[in-house]
């Protein structure tokens, strides 16, 4: 938002990123979540279960260890990252588009004392908090499949939150530039799905050709997978600081890009 042409003292002036505005926007998300939490929880448990059945037990009978890790723990930790990706990038795209274009919820909120920055930040915070918590679901399923509980797993919600914040920002940005909701298919097939190939979710990137290995370095999902795996399997090391730093930069960058790109569309 721009500033007034002539500055003057405004006694009751309210600032940027006010907690009250963020809480207000998020209270709406909480109310809606109250209606859908069962479906959300169901799918976030069933999905990793199927992955673990298919890859862990299916492939696991052929492949016993990958990169010195047993295959079930390897897949379980990989699925955490995919769960985080899906539970943040998709709401970023679809919820944003629906609320903005179809339901005009954002128009309604921006007529209240809520700025674009607050609106988008609050939406991103909510989605990424949820992604962080639901990132634990595959680990719980994994534990049921024999994964050893580790103290480092408690870091997963935090890793999920930071990664989710970046991916929801990515989703919001896509929603801001998409002409129709069908455009999201391109992003899903051309961007999100290929991310799996170079993230070390189901197989390590170290066996891949050189160029693809380089690509992994700029793939936030790869860094998320590494961090989740090291934290959950008790192998945290100094390289994880680098992974964490990449995720933080990604999150902050996407936050600003999301506000900038959707802000341009919301305020004309």
């Amino acid at each position: 938002m721009s500033t007034p042409t002539e500055p003057r003292s405004a006694p009751r002036r309210i600032g940027r990123l006010e907690p009250a505005a963020l809480a207000g926007v998020m209270s709406r998300d909480v109310a809606i979540f109250g209606r859908y939490w069962k479906a959300t929880t169901f799918s976030s448990v069933v999905q990793p279960t199927i992955y673990l059945l298919a890859f862990g037990l299916g492939f696991g009978s052929l492949v016993h260890t990958v990169a010195h890790v047993k295959y079930v723990p390897y897949v379980a930790t990989g699925v955490v990252a995919t769960a985080i990706l899906f539970s943040s990038a998709f709401p970023g795209m679809f919820n944003t588009f629906v609320r903005w274009q179809f339901q005009r919820t954002y128009d309604a909120m921006l007529a209240a004392p809520v700025d674009v920055e607050e609106l988008i930040t609050a939406e991103m915070l909510w989605v990424s908090l949820r992604a962080g918590v639901y990132g634990l679901a595959p680990l719980l399923v994994g534990i049921a499949f024999g994964l050893q509980p580790e103290a480092g797993m408690l870091l997963v919600p935090l890793i999920g939150f930071v990664t989710g914040f970046g991916f929801v920002g990515f989703g919001v940005t896509i929603a801001a530039v998409a002409k129709t909701i069908d455009n999201f298919n391109y992003i899903t097939s051309a961007v999100l799905t290929p991310m799996f190939l170079v993230a070390g979710t189901f197989f390590p990137v170290s066996n891949l050709p050189d160029g693809v290995r380089q690509a992994a370095q700029v793939n936030p999902l790869y860094h998320c997978v590494q961090l989740v795996r090291d934290a959950s399997l008790g192998g945290l090391n100094t390289a994880d600081l680098g992974h964490g730093a990449v995720l933080l930069v990604f999150a902050v960058l996407m936050w600003r890009v999301a506000i900038w790109s959707l802000g341009k569309r919301l305020i004309d």
Partner: protein, 328 residues
């Protein structure tokens, strides 16, 4: 576009009204009374000029009607008052706050009822009102009281816990109004508040709007329903092609732009064409009025006028006289 303007007999033309506007009160605490002040406001979307040098001054405590045909720029004007559309040029102050820099403070103190339904269909009435009570910073201790009060205003108490999707169109519109009033604002913007509603609901909303005005709330209402403006507004501004082309109390606008009486001449199309011809030859101001030709200022006609039905002039006559008959 044909504009049959009553320039010869102005009562309160834009230029006169703008005299009062020389010193808009930008600071509410200094005691003046401008709820809304817009000066020289322009807004273009690509090659289209939506608002073209708009001057608008809404004093505190009145119900102000913004009347204009579709595409006149009313909705753009409304959106500019919440800084959801930013002006290319000009100055806007709302409740003493300059936009867009201080718009958040202005939005805190005003309520908005949009033209298009933007309710959350998945939530209940109570949930929606509670969310907006938070957004409008209603203190926690007063929130549930504010929600109950808003439900009462909208007569929605029995539906408080119904999901919006299951409400009728009229109920949804009432909920939209209640949402805009949740924080007891001192200025309310109503954008086409009764569009698409049946007469019963419309009457109900009208009395609600009248009640707001009676309680000292400033109301800016855009509408293209003439009757709505005529009944509710203390002052009406007629907007056309992005500008205010006339402004005043409805009665004054009518007599200034349509006279006191209107003669309606009915007949077959050929007859109407002839009457129309006769009117333009005689220099009478006329317009098509459904199946008739309406000759304005019938009180000034001499014996040469055709037979017809005399009726009092109304705001619709003035409106068509001001904005022209052609549909864009």
């Amino acid at each position: 576009m044909q504009v049959v303007s009553g320039q010869a007999r102005p009562l309160r033309t834009v230029s006169e009204v703008s005299d009062e506007r020389e010193q808009p009160n930008l600071y509410p605490d200094s005691g003046g009374a401008a709820a809304i002040s817009m000066r020289g406001v322009h807004k273009r979307f690509g090659g289209i000029t939506a608002v073209d040098g708009l001057d608008l001054h809404v004093p505190s405590g009145v119900c102000f009607g913004l009347l204009g045909p579709n595409g006149a720029g009313k909705s753009t004007t409304m959106r500019m008052l919440t800084a959801q559309t930013l002006a290319d040029e000009g100055q806007i102050a709302v409740l003493g706050y300059r936009l867009p820099g201080e718009s958040k403070q202005a939005r805190l103190e005003m309520g908005v009822v949009p033209q298009l339904d933007n309710l959350d269909v998945e939530l209940t009435c109570r949930q929606i009102l509670t969310v907006f009570a938070r957004l409008y910073r209603v203190p926690r201790s007063e929130r549930s009281m504010a929600v109950e009060r808003a439900l009462g205003i909208a007569n929605l108490e029995p539906r408080a816990d119904t999901i919006v999707r299951e409400l009728s169109g009229g109920m949804r519109r009432r909920l939209l109004v209640a949402r805009g009033l949740i924080h007891s604002p001192r200025l309310v913007l109503l954008d086409e508040p009764t569009v698409g509603l049946d007469p019963q609901v419309r009457q109900e909303l009208w009395s609600l709007i009248d009640g707001l005005r009676a309680s000292g709330v400033t109301v800016l209402m855009s509408t293209h329903y003439i009757e709505e403006a005529e009944r509710l507004a203390d002052t009406v501004a007629v907007m056309n092609q992005g500008k205010i082309i006339a402004q005043g109390p409805p009665g004054e606008l009518v007599s200034a732009h349509a006279g006191e009486q209107v003669l309606e001449v009915y007949g077959a199309p050929e007859k109407l064409a002839a009457v129309s011809q006769l009117a333009s030859e005689g220099g009478w101001q006329s317009r098509r009025s459904g199946p008739a030709i309406a000759i304005l200022r019938a009180e000034t006609l001499d014996g040469s006028a055709p037979d017809g039905v005399l009726r009092p002039a109304n705001l619709e006559d003035a409106f068509v006289a001001l904005t022209g008959e052609d549909i864009e």
